[in-house]
Symmetry: C2
Subunit: 690 residues, 2 copies
C-alpha cells in the first residue's frame, strides 16, 4: 500500500499524535495521515465536498524533529478546494487535507475539537481532548449504475466501492436497509453515504444506515445511568464536539431509594423488573429527545451509543433480573462488554444504531467504575493512583501500569446526607462551609446562596432572605472534621461532655452530647449519632482503601482522584483529617467530576479505548471485602479519628491536629488493641455488613 | 494443536471423506476426526451422553491404503460407553468416537444419515448423501459456579468454556438471551447447551440459543420459493436426515399468475408489495407448522433456514419492491448472499434462528438457479454440463470446472400447458402419453389414473370412470413431437391440410388445420395455434442454449440436466425430437427433480457449500439475451422442427425422423436464409421479446 520511500522524500509530522513518516512529493496529506494511522475524518472520500478533513500547517523550525515546516511546502489550493472555500468557507490557515499535497517537510496540525465536559458536576467542568476513532464512520461513494453485462445487485456494487474507496471489506447489511436501498441509491444519482459500524478490527463491518447523496452528520450518545441521576452527552462523531448535555433523575427511585431496595422490589413484585426496565429506558429516551432538541440534532442521526452504569442499573437497563446481584456470590449475568442494537433496547435513534456497554469489573464494581478507570487511567501510568467513587457503595480502584486492584465498600448513605439529623440536600439556605474556633468552640459558617460568612457584615440579611435550613452533604464532613480539630470530639468519636461547662454549644441529650451549630428555627445540631454515622461510613471507605493498599503492599499512594459528585463537594483537607483517604500530598487529591461519563465519552469517540478497558478489566484483581477476614479488623481500626493505622507524616505538616488528650491512645500504626468500649461500634459495624 | 506424529504411529482413514492421518496410540477417534477436518457431530463434548458421535470400524485389509483395520485396533468399551449402551442402546458395531481411542491402524466409517429427497417432484425421488458442516452447532458445557474471587459474569464463564471445550472464540450473545441466561444456567446445575452460529470462518461466532442441560435436537429448514409452489424440507442438523417435507401453492398467485403480473400488481397498488410479502411469509410460516407437526419437531428447535427463490420471489420475500426487476437493466437490490435473523422475516422458529439466502446470479437468474448449480455442480466437473430449469422463464446454466455461463430465456407459459387450447393441469383424466401411427395417423394415448393405453382392453372402463378431460403439460411436448414424427406437421410447424383427405383426424378451421386427438366430450384437439405456442417456447429455450454454447465455443454438450417439474414430466427423447435441447446421448439427459431444493439443503447442511456457491456465482458469466443481437437470429432459426442449426448426428441414430418432404429445406447448419413465410413467426417472436 505504502509506496517505497527514500530519505530524500519530505518528512511529515502530524500533531498532536506525533506520528511521522516520509512521503513522495505529491502525496495528498490525507493519504499520508491514513498511512500513518492518524485519524483524520473524511466523509466524501476526497471529493473536497464534506470539509471534514481540515488541517493546519504549523510554520516554523522544529529543530528537534529536523523539520522546517512552511506553507510553501504544501500545494497551493486547487480548483476543488477553492470551490469549497467559496461555497462553504474555510477558516484562516485551514486546508482540506484530501486536496492538498506534500511538497516539502511539514508539521501538520490535526485540529481536535475540544470536548467540553459540560456542567454535569457542579464547578467541575473540565476541558479534555479525546483522540477520535469512532466505531461508526460515514463513507460517501458514487455507485456505478447497474450494468446488464455485470448484473451485480445495487448493494453489491455499493459494497465493492466501499472496499475500493474506504477499505471496508465485505460488510454485512442491516436487514431493515434491504427494502430501502434501491430508492436511496437512485435519489441522488447513485451518490450515497453509508454509515459503517465496526467495533473491533476482527469484526466484519456492517452497513447500518444509508442516505442519498452526501450526509455530513453523525452523532453518538454517552450515558451514565446512576442510581439517582442519569447523565447524557450528545456528541458529534465527526468532530468529537459535545453538542448538548442533560441529566435527569432516575425514575426508578419511585421503586426504591437505593440499589438494594430496588433489588428487593424486583424480588417482591412479579412485574417489578419489567417496570424498572421500562422506567429507565423511557427516561433515557426522554433525555435523547432533550439533548437532540438542545443540540438541534435529529435523533435519526444518532448512530452509536455508549452506556455505563453500576451492576444493578446495568442489568435492569438490559432487562436482566438483578436478584442474583443482591446476594452472595453476587453473580453478574454478564460482566464483559455488551454489544447490542439500539432497537433491542427500544431507543428512539437511527434504526441501525449500535449500543456498547463497558464491561463490569465485579458484582459490586460496575461499568461505571470501569469507565472512571478508563477516564483517569491508573493503568496508563507508573504512579500509584487511588480512584474513589463514593455513593451508597464506594467503588475503589488502586493501581498503576503494573497492577490494578479494585473493591467495593458499603459506606451507606451518610456521606450523601441521609441518616444525618439536620442533613438536607444542597439548596439555598443549607449550610455548606463550617469553621469552629478551637478556643471558644464558636462556629462560623456559610450558607448556599450567600458569599458571606456568618460572622461577616451582611450575613444576617442573607439569612433573613434564604433561611438557615440544615446541613448539606458537603458540610457534614467539614463540621465533623472541625469538631475533631477543635477537640469537641475525641479520637474515639465521642463528643466530650466535659466541654459543656466551657461552652453553651455543647448540649446534653440523656447519656450523650451534641453540638449546637445554629440556634435558630430549625435548631441545627450535630448529634452523637450523626458523628457515629459519619464514622461508620468513613471506616468502611478507609478499610476498603487500606485493604487494597495491603494487596498492593504499599503504605501510601501517589495521587488520589475523587470521582462523582461527592468528590466535587468536599474539601480534600477535611477528608484527610477525618481519615476518609490515606495520607497523600494535598496537591495530589483531585476531584475529577463525572469520570464515568468521561470514560463513556472516550469509548464512544474511540473504539480502541473499548479494547483498552476490556483488557484492563480482565487484568484488574477483584477483591471482595466480604471474603477478606482482615477487612473487619481494618474497619474497626478505621473507626478512630484519625485512623489508627496511619502514621500521619505528611498530614501533620499540612493540617494542625488537636493536642493529644491521652498519650496512651497514641500507639499509632499498631492496630491490634481495640479498647473495650468500642464494642458497640463494632457490633454496629457488623450489622452494617450483614 | 496437532501433536507431533511419527511414522510408527497408527494410520487412520476416515470414510467416506477419505481423509487420513497418523495419530499417537490413545488418541480419541473423535479428536483424530477433528484434527483432519472430518465432520463428526458431538453435542455433549466427549461426555458419552449425546450419542451423536457414533462411528463404525471397517474390518479388513485395505491394501491400497496400506491399512489392516480391525476392531482390535480400537480400545474396548469403557464404563462411560457401556453406560450409554445400557441406557440408550448402541447399534451393532457402532462405537462412540469420543470414548474410543486409536490403538492401531483403522478404517473408520462415519455414518452419514441418508438424505432422502422426498417426493417433491413426482417419480423423481433421489437418495443423496451430503457431507455435513452446518452453520449452527450445539455445544454442551458445564459452567463453573460463580466465584467471588474471580467475579466473571455467568455468560462470560460460559464463553470461556465454549472456547476451552469447543474452540468457539469470543462469541457475541444474542440480545434476547441476556435476560434469560442466569435462570437457564442454574436450572440443570450449570450444565447448558449453547447453539453457536458461525456462517463463515472469518465471522465472529454468535450464541443464538441456550437450553438447560443437554439439548440434543437442532433442525433447519431448506425452502424453495417458486412462483407457483413453495417446497420445504425440515432437516436434522445433527444427523442430516430429512424429517419432513411439504409443499404449498404460493398464495401470491391471487395477485398475479406469473412473475411479471405480480410486478405489475406492485406497480399498480400502493400496498401491493407489502401484501405479497405478507402472503408469502404467512405461507412459509404455515409450512413450518406443517413440517414440524409431520416430523414431531418443536418449531423452537429450528435454528437455521436456507431459502432459494427466483429474483422476484427473493425480493418480495425480503420485503424489497421488485419493480426494478420488471424493466431493463433488471437491477437486483442485492445479488450476493443475504444473512438475516428469522425474526427479521417474522418466521416463527427459535428466536435466535438465522436465515441464509443463496446469491442470485442475475436479474433473471435467481438464487434458485444458483442452488440448482450448487446441487448439480457443473463447476465441479470437467465435462460440459447443460443445466436447464424450465418455467415461464427458462434458466440455463452451461459449463464445467473451467468456465460457467448462464442466461435466462423467455419461454412463456406454453410448456406449463397454459395457452394450449386443450391444456389442463396434471389430474386424473388428463392425457399424459401419446403415440401416433405414422401410416394411419391414428393416436393411442394414456390418461392419468390408468395404466392402459387407449387401444388396450380395459381402457374404456377407466375412461368411463375418470373421463378424458384434456392434455396435461407433459403430453403437449409429446403430441407435437409425435405429430412431427408422423408427418402431420412440417418442419415449419404447419399442420399439413392435404392430409385431411387421408385421415378424418385432420380438421380444417378456416385457413388452418388441427389434429383431433380424442372425439369425446370435451373434444380434444391440437390446433395450429397450439403448435405455434410450443414452437415459440422451444425456440426461446433452444436459442438461449445455443447462445451459451456459442459463448463456450462448443457445438455439443456432454450431459444435460433438467431441473424442476418440467424435466420430470417430459420424455427426453421427445424434447430432443422437438429440438428443445441440443444433441446429446439420450443416456446423458437426466431429470434431477427439485435441484434448487437440493442445493438449499446442501447449503443448510454444510456452510462450506455456501462459500462454494458464492464464489461460483461471482465467476459465472452472465449473458443477457436481450443485449445479444445474435439471439434474435438464433431464435428464428430455432422455430423449425427440428432446429435448423443442429447437425443431428446423434439424434438420427436414436430416433427415427420422418422422411424429408422437401430436400431444399435440408440445408442444415446454415442458419442464414430465413424463408419469407417465416416472417409471421418472426414478428411473433419479436412481440414475445418486447
Amino acid at each position: 500500500m505504502k509506496p517505497p520511500v527514500s530519505a530524500a522524500d519530505p518528512l511529515v509530522l502530524f500533531m498532536p499524535s506525533g506520528k511521522r513518516g516520509r512521503f513522495p512529493k505529491g502525496t495528498p496529506v490525507l493519504d499520508a495521515a491514513r498511512q500513518l494511522g492518524v485519524y483524520v475524518e473524511s466523509v466524501c472520500g476526497g471529493r473536497a465536498t464534506c470539509g471534514r478533513c481540515q488541517v493546519v500547517v504549523q510554520e516554523g523550525n522544529f529543530a528537534k524533529h529536523g523539520i522546517v515546516s512552511s506553507n510553501d511546502h504544501i500545494s497551493p489550493k486547487g480548483p476543488k478546494e477553492e470551490r469549497y472555500e467559496r461555497v462553504r468557507g474555510l477558516a484562516d490557515g485551514r486546508r482540506l487535507s484530501c486536496s492538498s499535497t506534500i511538497e516539502g517537510d511539514l508539521v501538520i496540525d490535526v485540529p481536535q475539537d475540544t470536548v467540553i465536559n459540560a456542567q454535569v458536576v457542579r464547578k467541575a467542568a473540565t476541558d479534555r481532548v479525546f483522540e477520535r476513532n469512532p466505531a461508526v464512520r460515514l463513507c460517501y461513494v458514487e455507485v456505478d449504475e447497474p450494468d446488464m453485462h455485470k448484473p451485480l445487485g445495487d448493494l453489491d456494487r455499493l459494497k465493492a466501492l466501499l472496499e475500493r474507496d474506504w477499505g471496508v471489506k465485505d460488510p454485512r447489511v442491516d436487514a431493515y436497509l434491504l427494502p430501502q436501498a434501491q430508492k436511496i441509491l437512485r435519489k441522488e444519482n447513485w451518490g450515497v453515504t453509508a454509515a459503517v459500524h465496526r467495533d473491533a478490527e476482527s469484526d466484519r463491518p456492517s452497513i447500518i444506515a444509508l442516505w442519498p447523496g452526501l450526509h455530513n452528520e453523525a452523532y453518538g450518545i454517552a450515558c451514565d445511568i446512576g442510581s439517582t441521576t442519569i447523565a447524557m452527552h450528545l456528541v458529534s462523531l465527526l468532530s468529537g464536539r459535545i453538542v448538548a448535555s442533560a441529566g435527569a433523575s432516575n425514575p426508578q427511585i419511585r421503586f426504591g431509594e437505593d440499589l438494594m431496595s430496588r433489588v428487593s422490589y424486583v424480588m417482591m413484585n412479579p412485574d417489578g423488573r419489567e417496570a424498572m426496565t421500562n422506567a429507565v429506558r423511557e427516561a433515557i429516551s426522554d433525555l435523547i429527545v432533550k439533548v437532540c432538541a438542545e443540540g438541534g440534532v435529529s435523533s435519526d442521526d444518532i448512530l452509536d451509543a455508549v452506556f455505563v452504569a453500576n451492576p444493578i442499573m446495568h442489568h435492569l437497563f438490559l432487562g436482566i433480573d438483578p436478584t442474583e446481584l443482591g446476594q452472595a456470590p453476587f453473580a453478574l449475568a454478564v460482566s464483559g462488554a455488551v454489544h447490542l442494537q439500539a432497537e433491542d433496547l427500544g431507543l428512539k435513534v437511527n434504526r441501525g444504531a449500535r449500543v456498547y456497554l463497558l464491561p463490569c469489573i465485579a458484582g459490586h464494581v460496575g461499568a461505571d467504575a470501569a469507565a472512571a478507570t478508563l477516564s483517569e487511567g491508573p493503568h496508563r501510568q507508573d504512579r500509584m493512583m487511588l480512584l474513589v467513587d463514593v455513593g451508597t457503595n464506594a467503588e475503589i480502584i488502586l493501581g498503576n501500569s503494573q497492577r490494578v486492584v479494585a473493591a467495593s465498600s458499603p459506606t451507606g448513605p451518610a456521606f450523601e446526607g441521609a441518616e444525618i439529623s439536620s442533613g438536607q440536600r444542597a439548596a439555598p439556605g443549607a449550610i455548606e462551609r463550617v469553621r469552629i474556633d478551637p478556643e471558644t468552640l464558636e462556629p462560623r459558617f456559610r450558607i448556599i446562596g450567600s458569599e458571606k460568612w456568618s460572622d461577616e457584615e451582611g450575613f444576617a440579611e442573607a439569612a433573613e432572605r434564604l433561611g438557615i435550613t440544615g446541613i448539606c452533604g458537603s458540610a457534614i464532613i467539614e463540621v465533623v472534621a472541625e469538631m475533631f480539630l477543635s477537640g469537641i470530639i475525641s479520637e474515639d468519636g465521642v463528643i466530650d461532655g466535659q466541654l459543656a461547662a466551657k461552652s453553651p454549644r455543647i448540649l446534653q441529650n440523656g447519656r450523650t452530647y451534641s453540638y449546637l451549630l445554629h440556634d435558630g428555627s430549625p435548631r441545627i445540631t450535630v448529634t452523637q449519632n450523626d458523628v457515629r454515622a459519619i464514622q461508620l461510613a468513613k471506616a468502611a471507605l478507609y478499610a476498603g482503601i487500606r485493604l487494597l493498599m495491603e494487596k498492593q503492599g504499599i503504605t501510601e499512594v501517589d495521587t488520589i482522584r475523587f470521582a462523582g459528585a461527592f468528590g466535587s463537594y468536599i474539601d480534600p483537607k477535611y477528608a484527610m483529617v477525618l481519615g476518609l483517604i490515606p495520607d497523600c500530598s494535598l496537591d495530589e487529591v483531585k476531584a475529577v467530576g463525572n469520570a464515568a461519563g468521561n470514560g463513556a465519552l472516550m469509548a464512544l469517540l474511540n473504539r480502541t479505548h473499548r479494547r483498552e478497558i476490556e483488557q484492563t478489566v480482565q487484568k484488574i484483581e477483584k477483591i471482595e471485602t466480604a471474603l477478606e477476614p482482615h477487612f473487619q479488623q481494618l474497619f474497626v481500626n478505621a473507626m478512630a479519628l484519625p485512623n489508627k493505622v496511619d502514621p500521619f507524616v505528611k498530614l501533620s505538616e499540612q493540617v494542625k491536629l488537636p493536642p493529644k488528650k491521652s498519650p496512651s491512645d497514641d500507639a499509632s500504626g499498631s492496630g491490634e488493641a481495640v479498647p473495650r468500649r468500642r464494642s458497640r461500634e463494632e457490633r454496629a459495624a457488623r450489622r452494617a455488613r450483614e
